[in-house]
């Protein structure tokens, strides 16, 4: 895709498992295992998937917060060499991140003013007075009163704190904001406020979001395109409407079937039986989903299906669909 702002190819992150006093490596966690996707300007791409499937790691790897084992990233046509080194620093100004936990992502010992100003200080943007002004601006932009600037994070509610995090991410006028589950720690009423704020910001500032979530409702609401991850792989990636209308990968299907309805008259009949859920440490051979898949065959055990395009433009990694 040529109009892509960000293009990710073969992104891979492996963590060594170290043990013992000498910290010898005894295994690898294949947290992210070669994923490709792209993100357009003003677009929201969601990453959904279950806990531990590598969503956050993907986000952190993009920010260079964890070292990518392999893969390339092209940003605005320019290749960020191997996701390492100094090119990353400049890249970071243009890509920012908002974390899930609004409590732990703000330093409890810093005033809100200092938290929001930190990126300006780090990148030496403007004079002291300009930074001051910018902080006030940003606070207003995310719906905080600038007179609260001298308060500490614990004096704010969860939603307000998430706003502080967003203000900080906005400070450097990034083109992409990675939102790592920004609302999953919030009550629905507050969650709605933040989702609205993110939508407003995109409309007004034209940022793109890489939106990480495990909540299909939220994903459906906010994204243009959706990538479904399972154990470090993207198993399906499609436009939102297409995906929700017709989930193709069996895992996508399972996710949707599991989401509670919001209609007591249309209850699901959930199965009480339990799956043995594999982890990134002990990945099954072949298609990682095969132990839980009702379509699984010998082929699935043997070969990992590639992400291949389907008629309607979506990409699916499944031998059978």
């Amino acid at each position: 895709m040529s109009d892509a702002l960000l293009e990710v190819e073969g992104l891979t992150v492996h963590f060594p498992i170290r043990k013992g006093v000498l910290q010898r490596q005894v295994g690898t966690v294949r947290a992210v295992d070669g994923i490709d996707f792209s993100l357009k300007r003003r677009e929201t791409l969601s990453l959904v998937g279950e806990s531990g499937c590598g969503k956050s790691t993907t986000g952190l790897a993009l920010m260079g917060l964890v070292k990518a084992t392999a893969g390339t990233v092209t940003f605005a046509g320019e290749r960020i060499a191997g996701l390492r080194g100094s090119a990353l620093r400049a890249f970071r100004r243009r890509v920012q991140i908002v974390f899930q936990d609004p409590f732990s992502s703000l330093n409890p010992r810093q005033r809100v003013r200092d938290i929001i100003r930190a990126p300006l200080d780090i990148h030496r943007v403007g004079t002291a007075r300009e930074r001051q002004k910018r902080v006030a601006e940003l606070m207003e932009r995310v719906g905080l009163r600038p007179d609260q600037a001298d308060n500490f994070p614990h004096q704010f509610s969860g939603g307000q704190r998430q706003r502080i995090g967003i203000a900080r991410a906005l400070a450097l006028k990034p083109e992409i904001i990675i939102c790592d589950e920004p609302v999953s720690a919030l009550d629905v009423s507050v969650q709605a406020q933040i989702l609205n704020l993110l939508a407003d910001l995109q409309r007004d500032l034209g940022v793109s979001y890489l939106f990480i979530s495990h909540d299909l409702g939220v994903v459906e609401h906010i994204s243009r395109r959706v990538a479904v991850m399972y154990l470090g792989k993207i198993v399906e990636i499609a436009d939102r409407d297409a995906l929700f209308a017709r989930p193709t990968h069996p895992y996508t299907e399972l996710l949707m079937k599991s989401a509670p309805s919001l209609d007591p008259r249309r209850r699901h009949v959930f199965s009480a039986s339990s799956d043995v859920v594999p982890s990134a440490t002990q990945k099954p051979s072949g298609c990682p989903f095969h132990p839980r898949c009702h379509l699984a065959t010998e082929e699935c055990k043997a070969a990992d299906p590639a992400l291949t395009p389907r008629d309607d433009g979506r990409l699916v990694a499944c031998h059978h669909r």
């Binding site: 910290q23 806990s51 952190l60 920010m63 917060l65 620093r89 970071r92 100004r93 920012q96 991140i97 974390f99 899930q100 936990d101 609004p102 409590f103 732990s104 992502s105 703000l106 330093n107 409890p108 010992r109 810093q110 930190a118 990126p119 780090i122 990148h123 994070p153 614990h154 704010f156 509610s157 969860g158 939603g159 704190r161 995090g165 900080r168 450097l172 999953s184 720690a185 919030l186 009550d187 507050v190």
Partner: protein
């Protein structure tokens, strides 16, 4: 109105009161001491407490109260220097070791182990023997003994803190290690350091007096509590007063610092920071 939180903590209040009293005496020593520290009166040795000599006199007939007050200066000075130095070194080592991890941590960890493995007293004795006695030298010896504790605690705290999202956030913003360590991590590790330091002040005072007791402390005529106690124990059978007063001075001061430290521990406990409203935890 309710009392401010620290004032409702008895440990803190008593500890702070004792500490303030001792520090006050030390600072104002020339004003609160009615006699000179070295003013001997051999005809009036081992006098009991009286209006003339609040705490009585010592083996040279010197006013014990005056000596205790001036002794407080020395004890506090040594305690402050040694705890300050140990905290500084230990904190830096702990931060660096915890933040960078890997081989840096491995090497610093081994070095810490080396000092940890030494029986404290051997190390201190040897160092004082090398450097000779003196406020700074005794303090240095105690620094060498005590820094490991800070290194350990700070390293532990750093290991936890560096995984905190706000540290990740700072890195995401492009902050360098120095900024992260000193702006993001250190302020949050300060709680345990302060607690440790105030407990450490007590330990340092005891350690200093033990060195004096073994003859490795500040030599007389410095009015150190340790020497007074060391003399005191010699006269203990017949003139127990000297040992009791000097021992009690040490104990009360240490008690003050310990209570203060405990109080601070309660007050600075991060679990006491209320979690905010309107959020939900997910595993």
């Amino acid at each position: 109105m309710r009392m401010p939180k620290p004032l409702r903590n008895p440990s803190f209040v008593i500890g702070a009161a004792i500490t303030l009293f001792i520090v006050g005496c030390a600072v104002l020593a020339p004003h609160v001491a009615p006699y000179g520290v070295e003013q001997m009166d051999m005809r009036n040795r081992f006098a009991g407490p009286s209006l003339e000599h609040l705490l009585g006199t010592d083996n040279f007939g010197r006013d014990l109260w005056s000596r205790m007050v001036f002794g407080a200066r020395i004890s506090l000075m040594i305690a402050l220097i040694s705890v300050g130095g140990a905290a500084l070194i230990g904190t830096v080592v702990g931060l660096v070791s915890g933040y960078f991890g890997g081989w840096v941590d491995l090497v610093l960890g081994r070095i810490t182990d080396i000092f940890l493995g030494f029986p404290a007293i051997i190390l201190a004795l040897a160092i004082v023997a090398v450097l000779g006695p003196g406020i700074v030298n005794v303090s240095l010896a105690l620094i060498v003994v005590f820094w490991t504790e800070y290194a350990r605690v700070v390293r532990g705290a750093t290991l936890v803190l560096r995984e905190q999202n706000y540290v990740q956030a700072a890195r995401a913003l492009g902050a360098g290690p120095l900024r992260i360590i000193f702006r993001e991590i250190l302020p949050n590790a300060l709680g345990p350091i302060i607690v440790l330091a105030s407990l450490g002040l007590g330990t340092a005072i005891i350690a200093e007096s033990a060195l004096s007791f073994l003859g490795f402390g500040l030599p007389p005529p410095a009015p150190t509590w340790g020497w007074t106690l060391s003399y005191g124990t010699r006269f203990m059978r017949d003139e127990p007063w000297l040992a009791i007063v000097s021992g009690a001075a040490i104990m009360i001061t240490v008690l003050g610092f310990n209570l203060l430290g405990d109080g601070l521990r309660d007050l600075l406990d991060p679990r006491q920071l209320s979690r905010g409203r309107g959020e939900r935890r997910k595993a």
